[in-house]
């Protein structure tokens, strides 16, 4: 999703890795600079407290950049510091502002400038006790896909004969998403109005399958319990390395239970 791909050569792979991870490499670099600067401030007596603050922020940036690279995130997600504040307070705004406030407090304008990276990031709360089915689906966690990317996705799908419909909660009777393939060769990808990345990827996997084998073959696939080909395809696609790790842990757990209860191929 949005990750840059080059030809499968050594140089291509190196360029591909740099493109995908450059932001986090820079983050680690800034973090290292903060740590060195903070240490220097303490060592020279320029300011112990600001020095400690800079080191803390620097370590936070190093840890965050490393985790983003490790888990294949592209410059998004809570930093370690933000996540700690979020876990402690349950307040997303406080978490997002925390690095900036700390940076200002310790006189590090550089770190404050990185707040912009977080501005478009939104998390989804776990709400397991909410009775409404569509809302309770958020219990599997994840990140909101975002309006801008949904717009891009809608245009992409439209060029391929698929209509993206948001806010389909009513038609789906509470379900969060569905993929409908019509006998005239078109299809509709239905999503609730504020879908998570996990949900979008799930429905897009149906689209990939539909496009790969064609509408007629797709509509004839077995969809009975114990031999549910489309859902097994989605599970296999999402379970691939590099994608599975990017799903929320609860969603992964949910996916396993879903395919087992539904009965994929050979289960």
């Amino acid at each position: 999703m949005g990750r840059f791909l080059l030809m499968d050569t050594w140089a291509g792979q190196a360029a591909n890795w740099t493109w995908n991870n450059g932001q986090d490499v820079a983050r680690i670099g800034f973090g290292t600079f903060d740590v060195i600067l903070g240490g220097s401030m303490i060592w020279t007596g320029a300011g112990t407290l600001p020095g400690i603050g800079l080191i803390a922020i620097g370590l936070d940036q190093i840890a965050t950049g490393s985790m983003n690279i490790r888990y294949g995130r592209v410059g998004q997600g809570f930093s370690v510091l933000e996540f700690g504040v979020y876990s402690a307070t349950g307040n997303e705004s406080a978490a997002i502002l925390a690095p900036g406030v700390l940076s200002l407090g310790f006189g590090s304008a550089g770190s404050f400038g990185r707040l912009g990276v977080r501005a478009g990031f939104t998390t989804v709360d776990f709400a397991g006790t909410i009775p409404d089915v569509g809302t309770r689906l958020y219990g599997v966690g994840g990140q909101l896909y975002g309006a801008e990317r949904l717009g891009t996705l809608g245009r992409y799908l439209a060029r391929r004969g698929v209509t993206l419909e948001l806010g389909a909660e009513v038609e789906l009777a509470g379900y969060a998403g569905a993929f409908k393939a019509h006998c005239n060769g078109t299809a509709r990808l239905l999503l609730r109005s504020d879908p998570t990345t996990e949900l979008v990827w799930h429905e897009l996997s149906h689209f990939v399958h539909w496009r790969r084998i064609g509408s007629d073959a797709y509509r004839r696939l077995p969809r009975i319990g114990g031999n549910h080909v489309p859902e097994q395809f989605v599970f296999d696609l999402l379970q691939r390395p590099g994608r599975w790790d990017r799903l929320s842990p609860l969603y992964r757990f949910h996916m396993v239970e879903h395919i087992e209860d539904l009965g994929g191929i050979g289960r």
Binding site: Y175, A178, G225, H258, D261, L262
Partner: protein
């Protein structure tokens, strides 16, 4: 609880919540480590969107998956995103 008991409870649950009379198309007894044993009942999309299915369309993501606790008989909906 027998399979027939579980289906009876599941059908009543579907009727109450979706207003549809129908039978599950897939039933199995599920036992996972650390979890209570339950009957998994899957009601196909054709039960809820009969006209579209009859017209030749396919619908993925609208199965109705119900769980019936094997001991207590409690019925719940296994909701899923798509």
């Amino acid at each position: 609880m027998t399979e027939a008991d579980a289906i009876q409870r599941g059908n009543a649950f579907v009727l109450k919540n979706r207003g549809v009379v129908g039978e599950p198309e897939y039933v199995q007894l599920v036992k996972r480590d650390g979890q209570r044993r339950y009957w998994s009942l899957v009601y196909g999309a054709a039960l809820f969107f009969p006209e579209e299915i009859a017209a030749g369309d396919s619908i993925d993501g609208c199965e109705y998956m119900v769980r019936v606790d094997d001991q207590s008989g409690d019925v719940s909906l296994f909701a899923f995103t798509g």
